[in-house]
């Protein structure tokens, strides 16, 4: 956020924080609710849980950490982090069935 705020700006920001807070609570309740429903498809359960977690993560990073309104340099740092994080996960998925010869017993 910028460094200079009017009283009105801060009041509006506080309302936004509370809205995000309520959304995070609802997101948590929905995630746990989906767990107790027990969907037949594990893929659906995983996708739903990670989808809600991603939305919650976006809300925390975007509003609580002020990423929605930051300077270019911060975006640059985060963009390179996202690139390397996705690369790491990509390599993990790529390596998933790539076991070295004669190391698997099943």
């Amino acid at each position: 956020m910028g460094d200079h705020h009017s009283h009105h700006d801060i009041e509006a920001t506080k309302k936004k924080y509370l809205m995000v807070f309520y959304a995070l609570i609802v997101g948590t309740i929905v995630t746990v609710g989906a767990y107790f429903i027990h969907f037949d498809s594990i893929a659906l359960t995983v996708a739903l849980a990670l989808f809600i977690a991603t939305i919650k993560g976006f809300l925390v990073a975007g509003y609580f950490m002020h990423l929605m309104d930051e300077k270019k340099m911060i975006y640059g740092i985060m963009a390179s982090t996202v690139f390397f994080f996705i690369s790491l996960m990509g390599l993990t998925i790529w390596a998933m069935h790539d076991f070295p010869t004669n190391t698997m017993t099943r």
Binding site: Y17, L24, M89
Partner: protein, 260 residues
């Protein structure tokens, strides 16, 4: 020598230095936890059928801990907003709640750890598997409150089915001379417990470190508010960014470890 750009932004970055520093640090933290998450994926995919535990952790307790961290995150931003409105008393109230939430989180986590360290699995010489909480242990016998497990489809799956059928189980007395292997659900029990303790342990260390920093700024470091209020507010913002990151990591840890 005076440290430059603690309050006024640098012309090239548009930011005060501590803010650039904390974001670079958080970037490294993303990669640290990212590496552990990728380890989790590989361990889970590589686990034998029926050997990856499900429903092993206490979901209501994990949910409460999630809500505690979310509450602590909102009190951090409300505290920072109060400071921007020159309301130091309100800021102090909100940040005190944050520190209390951190204590609550670590306390609840310790309770969960204790539960796992008193949860035992016993394999007898005749191949039977027993699973439950340790009631007592002497040189002659071990007494568990739990179940005998059908491990034909994997021990973890057997535990899950037995717990589903009868949550509390019964008292089981096993002679020490009949025991082939005994161990608790500590980090070396299986790969799931290893990655669970590694991820949650590292996260708990972050919670403790974050709480210590916030508490330092809140009490002994609060003198700066009278002399350099802008710099003090920046410190609060930077510590808050770290705290939100800790919350962010838990938002992903909770469903991955407890629910999936």
């Amino acid at each position: 020598m005076e440290i430059p750009y603690t309050v006024e932004p640098r012309k090239d970055t548009g930011l005060y230095n501590a803010k650039v520093g904390i974001w670079l640090f958080l970037a490294s933290e993303v990669m640290l936890f990212g590496a552990l998450f990728s380890s989790y994926i590989l361990l889970r995919v590589g686990a034998d059928v029926g050997e990856w535990p499900r429903d092993l952790l206490n979901v209501p307790i994990g949910t409460v801990n999630t809500l505690v961290l979310i509450c602590s995150s909102v009190t951090v931003v409300l505290g920072w907003a109060a400071l921007k409105q020159n309301n130091f008393a309100k800021y102090r109230m909100f940040q005190t709640i944050t520190v209390l939430c951190a204590f609550a989180f670590v306390g609840i986590k310790s309770f969960e750890y204790y539960d796992k360290f008193t949860h035992y699995q016993v394999i007898t010489k005749d191949g039977k598997v027993y699973d439950g909480h340790l009631h007592s242990r002497t040189a002659e016998q071990v007494v568990l409150q739990g179940h005998e497990i059908d491990a034909s489809k994997g021990k973890a799956e057997g535990v899950r089915k037995a717990q589903k059928a009868d949550k509390h189980g019964k008292e089981i007395v096993i002679k020490t001379s009949d025991i082939q292997k005994i161990g608790n659900y500590g980090p070396k029990h299986n790969t799931y417990m290893s990655i669970y303790f590694t991820l949650t342990g590292l996260h708990a260390l972050h919670v403790i470190a974050g709480a210590l920093v916030i508490a330092y700024i809140l009490w002994p470091g609060a003198r700066m508010w009278k002399t350099e209020p802008e710099r003090y507010a920046n410190r609060v913002e930077v510590s808050g960014l770290f705290w939100h990151f800790v919350d962010l990591v838990w938002i992903f840890l909770f469903p991955v470890l407890y629910l999936l």
